[in-house]
């Protein structure tokens, strides 16, 4: 099993116990774990979207990727504009709360289209990741009846209940080569904790061959172990832990920063125009060495404006010592 091995050159062994550190730079993680032709899932439903990883994939010039994501969002619009993708697997294509995704639309509305689409509904995508994570050959759901979706996507197939009570639809497992998730925190060994919207990151990560976790901060393993119910991924399935504060900007991280809505609004006119889109990529992705430079360009004031107005602590519960 090749899962959950640290990337080469990625950090030093943990002290204290045997857990191997999987800390890596974003450049190293993407270089070693994302390959041309891969199916890549950068997941996170409006929350915790790893723009930092998407930009690094663009900088490293990956090609022919199949990009899977429930909601392609700005990050896939940018990646598609940069030419890294040949196909999208998705359930909702848009700039949430704002409008469309211009770069993707131009490539889909062209004749012939220059981007392949494989399309489901939200629950269909969640069910696909779930089947992938559980090594099931299919997952049954009650969606798609009397819609044109099974005609548009022949992988959506009817399946009869073995109890004689009718038919439901099946979707096939989705097993990304790489799943990339952003999280509030992880240990150096990759044990990952998230709060707020959980989306389908757990299912997408368990379904994947390789997993990159990008975090706001690395914490001591003891922090994770103090609240085991908060853990969404064990280090066992994580190959690299990248520390990239603000790595989800312009999306958000519950408790850390808000969505940068100005960015989402600004993207609308940019993405409507191919030249403006390419210019933006040159300036903000190809023209910076990495996330630190991107954040410098954004400026401290803008970032500060995204902080929550006040803390909203969860409170602590007691697991109890049992010796």
């Amino acid at each position: 099993m090749s899962r959950g091995r640290a990337v080469a050159g990625g950090g030093v062994p943990d002290t204290g116990r045997v857990t191997t550190s999987k800390l890596a730079s974003m450049a190293d993680a993407v270089r070693e774990l994302v390959r041309d032709g891969d199916t890549v899932a950068i997941e996170g439903f409006t929350h915790l979207i790893s723009f930092a990883a998407g930009h690094e994939i663009i900088r490293q010039g990956r090609r022919d990727l199949t990009l899977a994501r429930m909601t392609p969002d700005l990050i896939y619009d940018q990646m598609v504009a940069a030419g890294v993708a040949r196909k999208l697997i998705f359930s909702w294509l848009g700039n949430p709360g704002v409008g469309g995704l211009g770069a993707i639309r131009r490539r889909v509305e062209g004749d012939p289209p220059r981007l392949e689409l494989e399309e489901y509904s939200h629950f269909g995508m969640v069910a696909r990741y779930t089947a992938g994570a559980a090594k099931l050959p299919f997952f049954p759901i009650r969606s798609y009846f009397e819609t044109d979706l099974p005609k548009a996507n022949p992988l959506i197939r009817p399946i009869e209940s073995p109890y004689g009570d009718g038919v439901v639809y099946a979707v096939p497992p989705l097993r990304p080569d790489v799943t990339i998730v952003h999280a509030q925190r992880a240990s150096a060994g990759g044990d990952t904790q998230v709060w707020g919207l959980l989306g389908c990151q757990k299912e997408a990560a368990f379904a994947a061959e390789r997993v990159i976790v990008v975090v706001e901060e690395v914490v001591d393993e003891a922090v994770v172990r103090a609240d085991p119910n908060r853990t969404i991924l064990p280090g066992l399935i994580v190959d690299a832990v990248v520390v990239e504060p603000w790595g989800a900007h312009p999306s958000y991280v519950q408790g850390a920063y808000d969505r940068d809505n100005r960015f989402y609004l600004d993207w609308d006119p940019i993405s409507r125009d191919e030249d403006a889109t390419q210019a933006w990529l040159r300036e903000w992705v190809l023209g910076v060495s990495g996330r630190a430079e991107y954040l410098d360009k954004l400026g401290a004031e803008r970032l500060a404006s995204l902080r929550p107005s006040a803390a909203a602590p969860s409170g602590s519960v007691d697991y109890g010592e049992y010796r």
Binding site: F45, W92, L93
Partner: protein
């Protein structure tokens, strides 16, 4: 502008939709107008209304108007934040949602909805967002509400792609199929536009039941691509009350993002 006209079309739509939510318990919220309508209903006709967001939130109490379907403000202070598997499997498909809101790029007389493509699927002239959770809402939510502005491009005789099933080819067929296949959803029940309020008659077809202040039957007919049925006892939608307007303007959309 007279006192009676001192509200926008969007405000009228929000108020009309909110009133339709009277007595409802669990509502699957969309952003924009549906979100304001649901919040208004919770403060007026449906105080027990629970807000569910497809992003995985039950019992949301947004402290501000959410900017997207997954805004952090819907999480802080909510009753439960769950995985999307749980939200779609146990809440929506499990049958706990009383009302779901859908938008539409195209809608037909039976309330069937297209949000996928204009033109052929493989060579679309306009690529729309797709289903998202819409087809699941249409099948599993007990009732479906639609809020949208009227236009002849949207209210069409034939939709280009059926993303979300409404009353299919009519009530008889819809009721039979929904019953036979065990759908929990009973189909579309209300459409609120900038001109009026529509329900579905016994044949499953959309019927204008109430005309908003200032709207005319001519305007209605010009923006619907088929011969729209009109209730014999067509009502006049009562204008927004001062209290309804106060709630919208002071609490729900103080910046006027959606209502001006």
């Amino acid at each position: 502008m007279t006192a009676e006209a001192a509200f926008t079309k969007a405000e009228m739509m929000i108020v009309a939709a909110a009133r339709e939510l009277a007595g409802q318990r669990v509502c699957f919220v969309g952003v924009g107008l549906p979100n304001i309508a649901v919040n208004l209903a919770q403060r007026t006709v449906a105080p027990e209304l629970e807000l569910v967001y497809e992003a995985g939130v039950f019992g949301a109490r947004p402290a501000r108007l959410p900017l997207s379907i997954g805004d952090p403000t819907i999480v802080t202070g909510a009753t439960a934040a769950t995985s999307m598997f749980e939200l779609f499997a146990f809440y929506l498909q499990g049958g706990l949602i009383d009302v779901g809101f859908l938008g539409a790029a195209q809608i037909d007389r039976f309330g069937n909805i297209n949000t996928t493509v204009i033109g052929p699927y493989d060579r679309p002239t306009t690529r729309l967002p797709g289903s998202g959770g819409a087809c699941e809402i249409a099948i599993n939510a007990r009732q479906v509400f639609v809020i949208m502005r009227q236009s002849a491009r949207s209210f069409v005789e034939t939709i280009d792609f059926r993303t979300s099933p409404g009353n299919l080819g009519g009530a008889e067929q819809s009721e039979r199929i929904r019953r036979e296949q065990g759908w929990l959803g009973r189909g579309p029940s209300v459409i609120v536009t900038d001109l009026g309020i529509y329900h579905f008659d016994e044949t499953g077809e959309m019927r204008l039941d109430s005309l908003h202040p200032g709207a005319t039957l001519d305007a209605v007919r010009e923006t619907i691509g088929w011969e729209i049925r009109v209730a014999p006892d067509l009502a006049a939608t009562p204008p927004p009350s001062a209290e309804e307007l106060r709630l919208i303007r002071d609490q729900l959309d103080p910046a006027g993002t959606y209502t001006t």
